[in-house]
């Protein structure tokens, strides 16, 4: 790993915690150079690294045009390129991998590097199993959000060695008509705590008890597939095999039966709480804490308890 590039994402102009950890992680391999590609605004001036970093800012709309993305590939021969898994990062990494004719591995749980060889553990079957892979040719790596960075030693903050920017090329092949950001709530994939609710809530009007609990916890809200199919909740809140995969520290499932397709999206959660009035609900087998009870009774009591401290 002589040369390393990182595709980073920013929120409000700042690097995410995981991206910072990724920068420290790769600098521990002592590369000669690190290129840090940033999508969107940059409001920070230092990065946690022991290696000089070149910053390249990509215009926010460049991402939506695959031809513009391909122009970045020119500077990436002989680079090992990393990113933290997300829709944008995987889309860009895969386009770049194809343009540089290099292999890409996505969904990485563990990664080590020695004697020009990467040893990788990749999560498969929604976290039910993993594959150990070995490669000396792959150069593009998408790292899972719950990758264990814990063994990284501390680094001082370095200022950038250089900084430049790349704009979208005008290809007319793709144009953005409008962007609809999700506002007013915590984005599900980033949330440390998630409160999910299912058909057991009976009516979309009952979601206030879910939202109140989420608010008291500083949590994002999620739902089961039937709930979004019924238009009780927006589609982007649906977790599971066909929806968002989440890996929060705490997932509280309310009135959700625990079908295997739902579990596929929440298996990565560290602690799982299940609240369901049916003691036979399959979800209880996959819970750290279970409460057999009516959501209409339990949720407001939990909210009240949280508010009282």
């Amino acid at each position: 790993m002589k040369k390393v590039a990182i595709l980073a994402q920013t929120k409000e102009g700042q690097l995410s915690e995981q991206t910072k950890q990724l920068i420290s992680f790769v600098s521990a391999f002592h590369p000669e150079q690190i290129k840090l590609f940033i999508i969107g605004d940059v409001k920070f001036s230092t990065v946690p690294s022991s290696v000089p970093v070149d910053l390249i800012q990509l215009s926010a709309d460049l991402y939506a045009d695959s031809e513009s993305v391909a122009t970045i590939a020119n500077g990436l021969d002989n680079f090992s390129v990393f990113g933290i898994k997300s829709i944008q990062i995987d889309n860009m990494l895969s386009l770049l991998a194809a343009n540089t004719k290099k292999d890409m591995i996505s969904g990485i749980q563990k990664l080590s590097y020695s004697s020009d060889k990467f040893s990788i553990s990749k999560s498969i079957f929604s976290g039910k199993a993993s594959l150990e892979l070995s490669t000396s040719t792959a150069s593009f790596f998408s790292i899972n959000r719950n990758f264990d960075f814990s063994r990284i030693s501390e680094y001082s903050e370095l200022a950038f060695k250089s900084s430049s920017s790349i704009e979208k090329t005008n290809t007319n092949k793709a144009s953005i008509v409008s962007i609809l950001p999700i506002t007013g709530s915590i984005p599900l994939p980033d949330a440390a705590i998630v409160v999910g609710a299912g058909r057991g809530l009976k009516d979309p009007g009952n979601w206030t008890i879910v939202e109140d609990l989420a608010k008291a916890l500083g949590a994002a809200t999620a739902c089961s597939k039937p709930v979004s199919d019924l238009n009780w909740r927006p589609h982007h809140e649906h977790v599971g095999q066909t929806g968002v995969k989440i890996s929060p520290n705490l997932y509280i499932a309310c009135g959700i039966s625990g079908a295997i397709q739902h579990l596929a999206g929440v298996n990565g959660s560290r602690i799982v709480v299940v609240i369901n009035n049916d003691p036979e609900a399959p979800f209880f087998k996959h819970a750290d804490y279970g409460i057999v009870g009516d959501v209409n009774d339990i949720l407001p009591r939990l909210t009240k308890k949280l508010q009282s401290h």
Partner: protein, 244 residues
């Protein structure tokens, strides 16, 4: 207009995944296979476009003969023909290069895939194919409409979604609610029997080596709290788990 739909054939989500101790790889014994659920959405949308815009729909799968019943099901749903690239691919790049080689020899206007396969969960085969062919790429697409000079799409992105217009050829990763899953009709099942499945060899070997597979067991505490004392949960979350 030619639409190529790439399908993965994956163990049903209810399957219990086991490792074959002899090979240290996932055992396919006793597993029921299905067409990847996202790929099913892609195929359903392709069939709808065929019905409204008279397109030709070709299904492509990279895999072994064991998948043929599932390919037949796609034909029964309304695909016109199918291609199976015969082999046991172990990397996304191997699958992508097989698709790219086919498309270079048999150009198409639109390539639809699922946003991700539910076995490998990589979500990258469409991007790898689009990058190699120089086609427009969007993923995951929630709505797809044909417009005068291309496509109008609703695409999910990190933290929101966007509406875009793009030209063809394009490669799209699909997710719901792009279409409703379809069930084959009796007539579809009958006509599928005579439709052609072209078999081609898998060219490139994988450069990534598979060492072994492991089952990831997450041990859960399985502690029950009685409803009358539900508030205890908050204390336990604070003292036992430090998640609060």
């Amino acid at each position: 207009m030619k639409i190529l739909v790439c399908i993965s054939c994956v163990p049903d989500t209810t399957s219990k995944i086991v490792i074959d101790p002899a090979t240290s790889q996932i055992s396919s014994q006793g597993l029921t296979f299905i067409v990847g659920p996202y790929d099913d959405y892609a195929l359903s949308r392709a069939i709808e476009i065929k019905e409204s815009h008279s397109a030709e729909v070709i299904v492509l799968h990279v895999g072994t003969a064991e998948s043929e019943p599932l390919i037949r099901k796609c034909l029964a749903l309304g695909a016109d023909s199918a291609v199976r690239i015969d082999g046991n691919p172990i990397s996304s790049n191997q699958i992508a290069s097989a698709i790219v080689d086919y498309v270079k020899a048999n150009p198409v206007d639109l390539i639809l895939m699922g946003k991700e396969s539910i076995d490998y969960n990589s979500g990258i085969v469409h991007g790898l194919v689009a990058g190699a062919l120089g086609y427009v790429h969007f993923n995951p697409v929630m709505h797809l409409d044909m417009i005068a000079d291309g496509l109008h799409l609703t695409v999910e992105m990190d933290g929101g979604k966007m509406e875009v217009n793009c030209t063809l050829p394009a490669v799209l990763g699909c997710q719901e609610p792009i279409a409703e899953w379809k069930i084959p009709s009796m007539r579809g099942i009958m006509t599928a029997r005579t439709k052609e499945i072209l078999i081609l060899p898998l060219g490139s070997p994988s450069e990534v080596q598979l060492v072994k597979a492991d089952i990831a067991e997450t041990a859960r505490k399985n502690k029950m709290i009685i409803a009358d004392e539900a508030e205890q949960l908050i204390d336990l979350l604070r003292t036992e788990t430090n998640v609060l």
